[in-house]
């Protein structure tokens, strides 16, 4: 599945400073593996040692937090937009 991925500034050094990239995967977990293939080293920044997204990092599929979906098993369809966003303060 071809999806668009929005990359936060701290990870753009892995993506040649690109804020948006095209990638593929049928689930979030697969997408992260594809990202690692294309941009070696990025997975260890996104995920902790157990392979789960780091606790200060939020992942969204079409604006929905994956924690309200199926987590890293959330399915992806052609044309989906995946956003990787560090936690921010409120108010």
């Amino acid at each position: 599945m071809a999806v668009k991925v929005l990359i936060p500034t701290p990870l753009q050094k892995f993506t040649n400073e690109q804020a948006t990239i095209d990638c593929s995967g049928t689930t979030i977990a697969e997408l992260i593996e594809s990202l690692e293939q294309a941009y070696p080293g990025i997975k260890s920044r996104i995920c902790d040692n157990e392979g789960n997204p780091r606790r200060f990092l939020n992942l969204y599929v079409n604006s929905e937090d994956i924690r309200f979906l199926e987590g890293i098993d959330t399915g992806l369809s052609n044309g989906d937009e995946v956003s990787i966003v560090p936690a921010v303060a409120g108010g």
Partner: protein, 438 residues
């Protein structure tokens, strides 16, 4: 990363008499230059400003603080700015009111109200954080500032940017209270009303921040912005006669305010400005958005996001960035985190208004209602010196209490009409009290 970021931060430190040394990751301890960065590039943990506490101990005294301006800038050595010019609109040094009638109603002997409903210039505690963030934004060379806001932050960013001559673009949820929208538009910023909740606004802003070189006060300026809340801790110490309280109750949205009051208390203790004491920290949330209270109740050390559904929009953050730190502080200080219903929030607003003459918004109503709940369940001792933080003004969220505060009595301009209406009002008042008297 990081080699570039890590080098030479030491040279930034004290050239302008500033005591801030670096940004430091709260999780892994990695250090960075004092730039527009908010998360650690290694682990995405939040970055915090790191100060030279030895220098603070040597140079700051109670007298030097008391001789400073009557604003948050009297605490300037503890704030993350390095230049000479600060943005000072008289923000801070709001009243610490010794409560009589509310205290008596609730059964407390030493209750104080920190009243940021009258903070300047936009009547919420956000003026503290924004004054610091925009001072730092100017130092870092930003000409446009921005924020994602539940209302108060938008008011404050727009007003203080106008004063400082900075371009401003703010993002708010489209369903915000009209007072908060008007209280932003009046300052002339670009306002983006996003069709979604605050968490969605925040996500969008993070994406915008990736592509636009703006200073987002709660994103890339967050380490500086959040430090402004420490002044709510410093002021309480100073206004209590250089003493710490026993217990504080504050609203919880992202959790940032709560953790920074804690940091403020700790810093003044470390700087020798106040005698050490354990202060209990209790937090307040609305049932309709209580991810931190739920985690507290369930004994979890992680916070599961929720979708907000409450009238307390200013604290309706379903995915609180500093939630885990707020949890940790409440637990280690033997405090509590509680939540209340929307009706209890309205009662809290009315109770504070009717007993103390302070009209707060929904966040303040939440805090008062939680204060009441904690007292009723024996979790606040009547003898404790307790400070309740009121962080915003009720004139901005009038919709919340509409229909709960009665109507004016419309009369003809005649004495007889007045007497009839007064008699009717007194009868209604008696009827209202009857069930209580029985």
């Amino acid at each position: 990363m990081t080699l570039q970021s890590l080098v030479s931060f030491a040279s930034n430190t004290t050239s302008h008499g500033s005591t801030c040394k670096s940004l430091k990751c709260r999780e892994c301890g990695a250090e960075y230059e004092l730039k527009a960065l908010h998360v650690c590039e290694l682990c995405f943990g939040p970055l915090e400003v790191n100060y030279d506490y030895d220098q603070l101990r040597c140079t700051v005294t109670r007298d030097s603080i008391e001789a400073g301006p009557k604003s948050i800038w009297r605490y300037r050595p503890f704030l993350p700015v390095v230049g000479h010019e600060v943005i000072d609109l008289g923000t801070g040094m709001t009243p610490l009111v010794k409560s009589c009638r509310l205290a008596r109603r609730l059964g407390l002997k030493n209750l104080y109200i920190k009243n940021d409903a009258v903070n300047m210039p936009t009547l919420s505690f956000k003026d503290r954080v924004v004054s610091v963030a925009l001072t730092r934004a100017r130092e870092l060379g930003f000409s446009t500032v921005s924020c994602a806001s539940t209302g108060n932050l938008a008011n404050s960013t727009a007003a203080i940017a106008a004063h400082a001559g900075l371009d401003c673009c703010v993002f708010i949820p489209a369903d915000l209270e009209s007072g908060k929208v008007m209280g932003t538009l009046i300052y002339g910023p670009t306002v983006m009303a996003v069709e979604g909740n605050y968490d969605q606004v925040n996500r969008l802003c993070s994406e915008v921040a990736n592509t636009h070189g703006w200073g987002f006060v709660n994103i890339n300026l967050r380490p500086y912005y959040s430090e402004g809340s420490k002044t709510l801790g410093y002021e309480v110490i100073e206004q209590l006669g250089w003493q710490l309280p026993d217990h504080i109750v504050a609203p919880l949205a992202s959790g940032s305010l709560f953790t920074k009051i804690y940091k403020g208390f700790r810093e003044f203790t470390e700087a020798g400005l106040v005698e050490p004491k354990t202060v209990r920290f209790s937090g307040a949330q609305a049932d309709g958005c209580s991810p931190i209270a739920q985690a507290y109740r369930e004994g979890r050390d992680f916070v599961t996001p929720v979708k907000p559904n409450t009238i307390a929009k200013s604290i309706a953050i379903g995915n609180p960035a500093d939630g885990i730190y707020a949890l940790e502080i409440a637990r280690k200080t033997n405090g509590a985190i509680e939540s209340v219903t929307d009706l209890e929030i309205i009662d809290g607003i009315k109770l504070l208004a009717e007993t103390e003459g302070i009209f707060t918004e929904t966040a303040g109503g939440t805090t008062v209602a939680v204060l009441k709940k904690l007292i009723e369940s024996g979790r606040i001792d009547p003898d404790e010196t307790t400070v309740v933080y009121i962080t915003g003004n009720g004139l901005k969220t009038q919709e919340a209490v509409q229909g709960y505060v009665g109507e004016p009595l419309t009369i003809e301009p005649k004495l007889a009409s007045f007497e009839r209406a007064l008699e009717r009002a007194r009868t209604l008042e008696r009827l209202e009290w009857q069930p209580v008297m029985i």
